[in-house]
Amino acid sequence: MSDIRQAHEALVERVLDGQGVASRDQRRSAFHASDLAAPLGTLVDKVAKHASRVTDEDVATVRAAGFNEDELFELVVCAAIGQATRQYEAAMAALVTATAKG
């Protein structure tokens, strides 16, 4: 069986707690898609829920609000990993329930 659990933990720890240009608080908020004001919050929400609808303007608006490209790179990565993680963990929990004895 392929096992991504350790590698997944390492990825999440790296993007949230490792060295970065964006603050750790901002990375955590992007990961959880919470507590971020517009326009960054709008972009993060789109990445999490409807990434195919992200536009050039969404990104340009966040740049104009003062975020540099490296901050944006990190925060978008955190938003994508955060949403995929929530889905993965919800599904694994459902699988555990489905296979529980008794």
Partner: protein
């Protein structure tokens, strides 16, 4: 791409690597490679370990099955870049383009095995609705998929729910059919390292 650092912010060694890739493949460097090679210690390195394990690690699913799952998750997310890229890999892995196109266009009627069909159905719900229930999982298990197969499919789903979001958010430029074919050949020969 929407961030210029992802186009040309790489270090000297990576730029040399890109020159070699262009020379060897006779195709432009795919945007996904530019992403994973940019500040690779932050995202590309840790993510490649997950993707390699999910897509090429030991599993009851074949490489073709897992590439089909990747394409299916991408299509559900309306991520055209990832859909085209992984349809190309799945078709090459299966040596059967019809199987892939039918699974993507008509899951219920496609000529695929029931455990795979039920698994793809669950992945579609998870990707669309962001969650699934224990009953959804019971349906997959009842169709003949093992717990191990479900866990492996969820690993693929995690990888492509991440990568697809980044492809769309960063605005990956679509490659030509030859560019995606070159990428598919590479991924089958070398994996995601």
């Amino acid at each position: 791409m929407r961030l210029s650092v992802l186009e040309n912010g790489h270090g000297f060694g990576t730029k040399v690597l890109f020159t070699l890739i262009r020379a060897f493949s006779r195709q432009p460097v795919l945007d996904v490679i530019k992403l994973v090679k940019y500040r690779a210690d932050f995202y590309g390195g840790p993510m490649q370990r997950i993707t390699q394990e999910a897509m090429r690690g030991p599993s009851p699913w074949s490489v073709g099955d897992r590439e089909l799952m990747a394409a299916f998750v991408a299509k559900t997310n309306e991520c055209e870049w990832c859909t085209r890229a992984h349809v190309a890999v799945a078709e090459r892995a299966y040596r059967d383009g019809t199987r892939v196109s039918q699974a993507l266009s008509d899951l219920d009627g496609a000529p695929i095995e029931e455990p795979l069909r039920a698994t793809l159905r669950m992945l579609r719900k998870l990707t669309r609705e962001h969650t699934v229930s224990a009953d959804d999982m019971r349906a997959v298990l009842a169709a003949g998929a093992s717990r191990e197969q479900v866990e492996d499919a969820l690993a693929v789903c995690f990888a492509f729910n991440t990568i697809g979001r980044l492809a769309d958010a960063f605005g990956f430029a679509l490659a030509s059919p030859k560019g995606f074919e070159a990428g598919a050949k590479y991924l089958l020969a070398r994996g995601y390292r």
